[in-house]
């Protein structure tokens, strides 16, 4: 028999989204469901150690949560309060509203409805991301707050606001028309990637990187992929995330960031690299895909070049440059140009890298200046490098990165 604590933790982790989805489908009360499920988990933590783990732990939680919701609805009925309800496509069925373009291609999966509702494009991206982690995966609010480096009450308020907005704006708990579903799944991918990158944006102190929380974003993609296997955007995104995530243990040492070239490659998770390489080879990615999927594929292939190079010196920078050239055609961005310039510098030398940086600016970012400084230092122009470091240090908003830039600048004088 499983230990009660472990069993509860496991069922919460694996079944949270499905339980939320089923409760929403039945009661349509976004404001009650999460609390009711939280109460049920709390009750389980008290009773399971004494009574033993039930044979169907998820069913037990569902029954307990339903009872909670029904209790609340009874209390409200006495108070004669009318609450706005979440709109479901069950309601559209009742109204016979699905006459157009409903070629039977709709999926009726409750968890997919939940994911699409949480990652709706009418929600601000940060809200969509927080809500997805909370409702689909059951990540505690405190952890989501840590991931985004905000105080817990701020995150709790953001999640509450997002739930109210869903009901108020009429965002449905439904799978949209097949013609817009690919776009909506792209929005889900962007939501997951935002959560992922948040964990890798440097903080300070013990929260330098929150890589284990970034792992939750990978779990979100896996949940959606289980419902929509072979969806190119999600397959490519999972590969890209796995490749970046595989380096997590090598990225921090003694509370400092370790650059890619200096990382101990034996500490990379090579099983994850292997899975990503298999995903990138999927035939589905070779056909026509959305621009977002194409951008993820190319970023994944770039990450794969690094992941499969035995040492930093073995990196095939010529191929990396070629992939960045393609990426800039599919999805032009200053950060991709910056990364390409770094690759050019590695392949053809710092002077060529500086040429590739010409005219590149990213508002509110210290990165172009810090790369320029690094390349100027390599060309031996210490004065120009110092000026560029000063510029980067002035623009840098993050303590860890600023400390790194200061140390690089001071090394110029040695």
């Amino acid at each position: 028999m499983t230990a009660p604590d472990g069993a509860l933790e496991q069922v919460v982790r694996e079944e949270w989204g499905r339980l939320v989805a089923l409760l929403l489908a039945q009661f349509r009360r976004l404001d009650l469901v999460e609390d009711a499920l939280g109460d049920a988990v709390e009750a389980a933590s008290r009773t399971w150690p004494a009574d033993g783990v039930p044979t169907n732990p998820a069913g037990w939680l569902m029954t307990a949560a339903k009872r909670r919701v029904v209790d609340r609805l009874r209390t409200e009925a006495v108070a004669v309060r009318k609450q706005p309800l979440l709109l479901t496509d069950a309601e559209r069925h009742q109204e016979g509203a699905r006459t157009m373009a409903d070629g039977g291609s709709l999926l009726e999966d409750d968890v997919l409805r939940l994911v699409l509702m949480c990652a709706h494009p009418a929600l601000a991206p940060e809200s969509a991301t927080a809500l997805s982690l909370r409702l689909v995966l059951g990540v505690p609010t405190a952890d989501i707050a840590r991931l985004f480096l905000v105080p817990e009450p701020t995150m709790a308020a953001r999640i509450t606001r997002a739930k109210k907005r869903i009901v108020g704006a009429g965002i449905p708990f439904a799978v949209p028309d097949a013609s817009v579903l690919p776009d909506r799944l792209d929005a889900v991918a962007q939501t997951a990637y935002l959560a992922f990158t948040a964990g890798y944006s440097p903080g300070t102190g013990p929260d330098l990187l929150r890589a284990e929380l970034s792992g939750e974003a990978i779990r979100l993609v896996r949940v959606v992929l289980a419902l929509r296997p072979d969806e190119p955007t999600l397959v490519a995104l999972l590969a890209l995330m796995l490749l970046q995530h595989s380096r997590r243990d090598a990225r921090v040492s003694d509370g400092r960031l370790v650059l890619l070239a200096d990382q101990d490659r034996t500490r990379w998770h090579h099983d994850e690299v292997a899975e990503a390489m298999r995903l990138l080879a999927a035939p589905r990615l070779a056909g026509p895909v959305t621009p977002l999927a194409a951008a993820y594929v190319l970023q994944g292939r770039i990450a794969a070049e690094h992941a499969t190079a035995p040492t930093a010196a073995d990196t095939r920078w010529d191929r990396v440059i070629g992939l960045y050239d393609l990426l800039l055609q599919v999805s032009p961005s200053p950060s991709a140009r910056l990364a390409r310039a770094v690759a050019v510098a590695e392949h053809l030398g710092p002077a060529a890298g500086l040429d590739a940086l010409e005219g590149l600016e990213i508002p509110d970012s210290h990165r172009p200046a810090s790369v320029r400084a690094e390349l100027l230092a390599r060309t031996g122009d210490a004065d120009a490098a110092r000026a560029a470091y000063d510029q980067a240090i002035a623009a840098c908003r993050n303590d860890v990165e600023r400390a790194f830039l200061l140390s690089r600048r001071d090394e110029l004088d040695r």
Partner: protein
């Protein structure tokens, strides 16, 4: 739900007076297609919809300290270009957005009406 749809800006379309007669006809047919699609879709109904006179004919009403004053022009620059509106009953935001895609690609604001009951 009831939604107020404000056709709030030309977006990438050129201003109405710069359309040729044929182009105006083509735009009008998009409005007709929207009407037809809403009629066909169960659970959807256009409750009201009008084209609006330009900002020079707008009047802003403000009450301060019990005194109401009228001023010429729109309330805020942001709705200066507002060309028209619809009041639409639709089951949810997704259905409405799907139908609005039929209209000329104006910038729009969609606000749900509050159910008073």
């Amino acid at each position: 739900m009831k939604y107020l749809v404000l056709l709030i800006g030309d977006g990438e379309l050129k201003p109405w007076p710069e359309h040729s007669e044929e182009e105006q006809g083509a735009v009008m047919r998009l409005f007709e297609a929207f009407d037809a699609a809403c009629r066909e879709r169960e659970g959807v109904e256009i409750l009201a919809g009008e084209a609006l006179a330009g900002p020079t004919h707008a009047t802003t009403i403000r009450t301060r300290g019990g005194t109401t004053s009228l001023t010429e022009g729109p309330y805020a620059e942001v709705i200066e270009q507002m060309g028209g509106f619809y009041l639409v009953e639709a089951p949810d935001l997704d259905v409405l957005v799907e139908l609005l895609a039929i209209l000329p690609p104006y910038d729009m604001q969609v606000s749900p009406a509050v159910d008073p009951y």
